[in-house]
């Protein structure tokens, strides 16, 4: 990577956030199984399945839950190819790097001994590596399904239903909104700097430029916070957040909730130690 590509790398990170948000909005609009459920059911149901994945001690049960996750993805019109590249491959690479040494480092019954005699692949090591990879793959797939099929505002409404303080939900909503504004501002600053760059920026100069951009963004953020506060006050905000609850549970939602919980409970029961 060339030295001044740090600007490009930052721009890539910033635009990646926009890309993720757009994909999420698009998938959430498609007619699918998960999208048909009440957001509260989606949040509770998928969280229950993630919990089941973590509570389960058997690889077979975790793989079964992975199959359930793939089925849910197909029925919710989530693109499997995109899921494979964005989630499965990335998680596999990341978790494998972490899990692979455990094959050798975990004490236990040797199944392969290398000629030197000091290095063994143990049965326990292989099991723990496979367990970790399948567990993380399945949990991340389920979390991604929630993120992809549920618009952010619906997740927030679901959180309100779980008695999370209104201030916290409001802060989550506002933060999400301003992330895109500040990310766009930062991207524009980096773009303008890059457009005026001829040749290679020295490493130290790139560092100073990045911290200065961060400083300007910080000043802009504080100004923005003051403006937002004044705008909220001018609309009568006195510190209490009031919201409308528009959720209505239908019979389909109850069936969905029971199904999720049933699958979760069965997985925990079968997958117990």
């Amino acid at each position: 990577m060339r030295r001044h590509d740090t600007i490009a790398a930052t721009l890539l990170s910033l635009t990646h956030a926009f890309g993720t948000a757009l994909v999420s909005e698009q998938v959430a609009r498609r007619p699918g199984l998960l999208q048909a459920f009440d957001p509260r059911v989606r949040v509770i149901g998928l969280f229950a399945l993630v919990l089941a994945v973590i509570l389960s001690h058997r690889i077979s049960v975790i793989v079964a839950l992975f199959v359930v996750a793939v089925l849910l993805a197909v029925l919710s019109q989530v693109n499997l190819k995109s899921l494979a590249i964005r989630v499965w491959l990335m998680v596999l690479l990341f978790t494998s790097v972490i899990a692979l040494p455990s094959v050798f480092l975990t004490p236990g019954d040797p199944i392969v001994t290398f000629p030197a005699g000091a290095l063994h692949i143990t049965a326990q090591g292989v099991t723990t590596a496979v367990l970790l990879i399948t567990r993380v793959e399945t949990a991340v797939t389920l979390t991604t399904l929630l993120v992809l099929t549920t618009p952010w505002m619906q997740i927030l409404k679901a959180l309100r239903a779980f008695r999370i303080p209104q201030e916290v939900v409001m802060m989550l909503a506002m933060t999400h909104r301003y992330i895109f504004l500040l990310a766009e501002t930062a991207a524009q600053m980096f773009e303008s700097r890059q457009s005026r760059t001829v040749g290679v920026i020295a490493h130290s100069a790139a560092r100073h430029m990045t911290t200065r951009t961060g400083g300007v963004l910080l000043s802009k953020s504080v100004e923005l916070s003051n403006d937002v506060f004044l705008a909220m006050q001018s609309r009568g905000f006195r510190g209490d957040a009031k919201t409308l609850s528009e959720f209505r549970m239908r019979s389909l939602d109850y069936i969905g909730l029971l199904s999720f919980l049933l699958v979760g409970v069965v997985a925990v029961w079968v997958g117990r130690a």
Binding site: A9, A21, V50, V87, T128, A139, I155, M170, M232, G239
Partner: protein, 359 residues
């Protein structure tokens, strides 16, 4: 440092959710008192800023690049409570909206980065920068040390969480069920990267932002500076040169006070009882009063009231000083000293009241 789902056992996750919950509750209560209605926009925008800052690809000394957490600058500007909330919100959005970091491990991630990181950053910054002026170079160094320690302490806590998994959570065959490495492996593996890269990234961004704010927006650093209101505003908004000029001017004026002796006569309307009665003044006063005739005897009110208060240093001439010039100079010094003492007392009282008013 974002731990995904699957690395920590459910009981570890529950314990860390509970610990983070205590931190969130305390921080929310504290921040509500400090910022009141400003709380929501301030924390929200700062959380958004921290989120975006985490995406910055920061070139580091040695040719590598790294990402900062943003917890140190949040602690320096908002204090630990505000930082705990804003970083937690940013971490929650990363998990719930961008799928970065797990849902079951959200409590652990918030505990490590938001709570441990904020507290370590705040305590270190306050200790190293104690008593330093806002514009002091020491604050930049303090921010760098705070950033380095905060990132590494958060990583160390995460490493301990990883390291205890095989110790407590394994099956009958000895298969670790979650993160597979013991403390002896997890701590060095986690710390090498953070000591070499992530900690430096946090230190560089924190120091760089503090240096920027010292020039561009020093007021933002006043909140957690530990200095009094006057101390935080004086070095920032009044340059040292102008203060020196002010003191020089005061000293010069004090030296020039004996010039008052050169002027003859008495200031109009400032006559004492003896001057009103004196024959010379009886003649001089009408010439400066549009030839208004003086009363034959001193006014009765003046006679009655003039003895009510006797000045300790009458006519700027202390009794023990024989030279009138030196008397004037001494009186000037005494007067300026009295005014300074008076203003300091008033300032102290106002500060105490302000501190007492704060919860």
């Amino acid at each position: 440092m974002h731990i995904p789902d699957g690395y920590l056992s459910p009981s570890t996750c529950a314990a860390l959710y509970a610990s983070a919950g205590v931190g969130w509750y305390a921080a929310l209560r504290r921040v509500k008192c400090v910022f009141t209605t400003r709380l929501i926009p301030l924390i929200s925008v700062f959380a958004a800023f921290s989120f975006v800052l985490m995406m910055f690809n920061l070139p580091l000394p040695g040719g590598t690049t790294g990402h900062a957490i943003g917890v140190t600058i949040a602690s320096i500007i908002l204090g630990p409570s505000g930082a705990i909330l804003s970083i937690s919100i940013a971490v929650a959005i990363q998990a719930l909206f961008f799928g970065d970091g797990g849902i079951t491990t959200l409590g652990a991630n918030c505990f490590n980065m938001a709570i441990v990181g904020s507290l370590m950053a705040y305590v270190t910054y306050r200790l190293v920068a104690a008593g330093a002026a806002i514009s002091s170079r020491r604050r930049v160094v303090a921010a760098a040390i705070a950033g380095y320690l905060a990132a590494n302490t958060a990583a160390f806590v995460a490493a301990v969480e990883f390291g205890i998994q095989p110790l407590f959570f394994h099956n009958a065959r000895g298969v670790p069920l979650y993160a597979p490495y013991p403390l002896s492996v997890a701590i060095p593996a986690m710390m090498i990267g953070h000591l070499a890269v992530a900690g430096i990234a946090e230190a560089v961004i924190a120091a760089g932002l503090v240096a920027y704010l010292q020039v561009a927006d020093p007021l933002l650093l006043g909140n957690t500076s530990g200095l009094s209101d006057s101390a935080t505003s004086t070095p920032v908004f009044v340059p040292q040169k102008s203060l020196r000029k002010l003191w020089l001017t005061v000293a010069l004026l004090m030296l020039l006070t004996p010039l008052g002796i050169l002027a003859g006569g008495t200031a109009w309307g400032e006559w004492s009882m003896s001057q009103v009665s004196a024959a010379a003044d009886q003649k001089a006063i009408p010439t400066t009063s549009h030839d208004q005739a003086q009363p034959s005897s001193p006014p009765a009110g003046l006679q009655r009231l003039c003895s009510l208060w006797t000045a300790p240093i009458p006519n700027y001439a202390p009794e023990f000083v024989k030279s009138p010039r030196f008397g004037y100079l001494l009186s000037a010094m005494f007067g300026v000293g009295m005014l300074m003492a008076f203003s300091l007392v008033i300032q102290r009282i106002l500060q105490r009241r302000r501190t007492a008013g704060q919860p």
